[in-house]
């Protein structure tokens, strides 16, 4: 379980301070998919970066399975599988080498890495490119490699920043099934997206973020009730306050 409460983060820019996140709080349950929905620049990535301990919030707290993400950062990172916005797959290594590199950094032994890799290759459908160097991989192959790399240590909590970004329809469908499988295994899954249909189809709990703030949250049904709209798309638009950035 992951609990975020009242997160704030400001960046200094040349034109003065910009509040990227100004009061984000929600709880993501185990065995459920929690979706962060918001237009580009709403503060989703910054929120997730604070969650996976790469940024320190100016205010507020993050607790992962009851542990504070700053006082106990190493243990928290151990229990998280993170797919950052930047995939950053090493081009001169094969997909398998990319995965085992991260396995070793998590302190796993070679046998455990092999077993875990085989499981992920099967689940994500990576068999035909697992031993190829990732130079020249398609966007889908890169994303799959990055996801497998993030999950090699079998983490209880999975954080995915825009996982379907740039993927074709078939790959997206496959990935959705994979995410539902993670949920079925009782993991706590958090993903961010700016695509409304995706969040609507996958998530048990939706957190709508706009301009660094949570403007609405709940199950798809609760969101419809809160906004008084029967159509989910209209509900989102109302929650965000504009139609800006809600692409399909």
């Amino acid at each position: 379980m992951i609990e975020l409460s009242d997160l704030h983060k400001q960046f200094k820019t040349k034109t003065g301070p910009v509040a990227a996140v100004a009061g984000v709080g929600f709880t993501a349950r185990d065995g459920a998919i929690t979706g962060l929905l918001g237009p580009n620049g709403a503060g989703k990535t910054t929120t997730l970066r604070m969650l996976y301990t790469l940024m320190k919030p100016d205010r507020g707290s993050v607790r992962v399975d009851g542990r504070d993400a700053y006082k106990d950062a190493e243990a928290v990172r151990r229990s998280l599988g993170v797919l950052p916005d930047a995939r950053g797959v090493y081009k001169r290594l094969t997909a398998r080498e990319n995965i085992s590199y991260f396995g070793r950094l998590h302190g796993m032994d070679e046998a455990a890495i092999r077993k875990s890799t085989n499981r992920l290759v099967e689940a994500l459908g990576m068999a035909d490119f697992i031993d190829r160097r990732s130079e020249g991989f398609s966007q889908g192959q890169r994303t799959k490699t990055a996801i497998a790399r993030a999950l090699v240590h079998d983490p209880k909590n999975v954080i995915l920043d825009e996982p379907t970004n740039g993927l074709d329809v078939m790959t997206t469908r496959g990935l959705r099934e994979f995410l539902l499988r993670l949920k079925g295994e009782g993991r706590c899954v958090i993903l961010s997206s700016h695509i409304m249909q995706e969040v609507g189809a996958l998530c048990d709990h939706i957190v709508v973020i706009a301009k660094g703030r949570v403007t609405a949250q709940g199950s798809p049904d609760e969101l419809r009730a809160q906004t008084g709209e029967t159509n989910l798309e209209d509900a989102f638009v109302k929650a965000i306050g504009s139609e800006e950035g809600l692409g399909a």
Partner: protein, 393 residues
């Protein structure tokens, strides 16, 4: 997970990545070991050839007023210096480097000569031109010999022993070892070695930090439980291994090419295995200082390009001591062994000249060199813990 295992994992991955890039391996590891022998053999042969031809070849010397001093001109001819017809504008010829040296015999030469006064001859030359030094010296020596001969004859004619004119008999005993004299010609060698030690691993270091950041692979890496200090040390270790392998190859190629030289200025330079081992030990702190400094720079810039822009400045650093010593040569003092670049420069020359390096000098050198490396490492580790480092976009 322990830090050492992280360090090892990261270092192994960096080395695998770099060794898969064939062009970088060729440029970074093999090019200089292949180029240096050509350079050494070529320069050696060139220098020797030039010195020999200039020392022995006939000098064609334009003489202004040759008809005034026919005996002098005849004497010069016996010294393999042939007089030529005088040019129109001698100053311009020298300035344009068309002639190395021109002799002008003063108009009142004949009068002075008959009166037994010192007769004036003038050598026109350009002292800033290195390749005219030998001809000028030869002409001057020939003139002095003629002057002495004629002077002695005059004294004898007056019944005076010519030896009375010289109260001192000055002789030289040059105590420089043959190795040391060669060392002077080797002044450029320390620069080449220090430069390859200092910046040999540059590509790998910049790529492993600034490059990874730009390619956005640093964020997932830093989101793992592996400690940042250990990750950074792994990258530094990989670059040090790469740099040391490059140096070893370069030194082995030195050994081979100096072995082939059997004449000229580079003959007999100490390239025993012991000397090579000493050179590697001398350059080890330089490799560490170079990689940690570059890591520090790479961690503080936003892009690979920005990191690379420091290279021009960094390449100048190792040449500073060579220049300073050229202008202001000083005796080795202990503090010099604690000064980066200067210390390496002096120690490498000492090894090549087969001088003994005392244990005190070794201790000061290694202590200061590795200490500076450790200090830079700590600053770099500090930068590695900054929040901005992981955030690429």
């Amino acid at each position: 997970m322990n830090s050492f295992k992280t360090l090892w994992t990261v270092a192994a991955k960096e080395l695998i990545e770099i060794f898969r890039d064939r062009k970088i391996i060729i440029n970074g590891l093999l090019l200089s070991p292949l180029l240096f022998p050509v350079l050494i053999l070529g320069i050696g042969a060139l220098a020797e050839n030039r010195a020999r031809t200039q020392l022995e070849a006939e000098i064609k010397l334009p003489v202004i007023g040759a008809e005034i001093a026919p005996n002098l001109v005849a004497f010069l001819a016996t010294q393999n210096i042939t007089a030529e017809a005088p040019p129109e504008n001698p100053d311009a010829l020298i300035r344009n480097q068309d002639k190395d040296v021109i002799l002008r015999i003063a108009e009142d030469f004949a009068d002075d000569w008959r009166q037994s006064r010192a007769a004036t001859v003038e050598i026109l030359h350009d002292s800033s031109r290195q390749d005219s030094a030998i001809p000028v010296r030869r002409v001057e020596r020939a003139l002095q010999a003629y002057s002495q001969q004629a002077g002695a004859v005059r004294l004898l004619a007056r019944g005076i022993d010519p030896h009375l004119g010289s109260a001192l008999r000055i002789t030289h005993r040059d105590l420089a070892t043959p190795e040391a004299r060669r060392g002077m010609l080797l002044a450029f060698l320390p620069y080449l070695l220090i430069l390859s030690a200092f910046l040999g691993g540059a590509y790998l270091v910049m790529d492993a930090t600034a490059g990874e950041r730009e390619r956005q692979s640093l964020e997932p890496l830093l989101a793992t439980p592996a400690g940042r200090g250990a990750i950074m040390s792994g990258k530094i270790a990989a670059a040090c291994v790469f740099g040391m392998v490059g140096l070893l190859l370069t030194l082995l190629s030195f050994k081979l090419s100096f072995g082939f030289v059997d004449s000229g200025p580079f003959k007999g330079v100490d390239v025993s295995m012991l000397a090579i081992a000493k050179l590697l030990l001398i350059l080890l702190p330089m490799v560490l200082i170079g990689t940690t400094l570059l890591t520090l720079i790479s961690a503080s810039v936003k892009t690979l390009k920005e990191a690379q822009s420091y290279m021009a400045f960094l390449m100048l650093l190792p040449i500073l001591p060579t220049i300073i010593l050229l202008v202001n040569p000083v005796k080795n003092q202990l503090w010099m062994f604690a000064t980066p670049f200067l210390a390496q420069n002096q120690l490498i020359l000492m090894v090549l000249r087969q001088e003994t390096i005392s244990s005190q000098q070794w201790a000061v050198y290694l202590g200061a060199g590795l200490g500076l490396g450790a200090l830079l490492w700590m600053i770099a580790a500090r930068l590695y813990h900054r929040e901005q480092l992981a955030i690429s976009a």
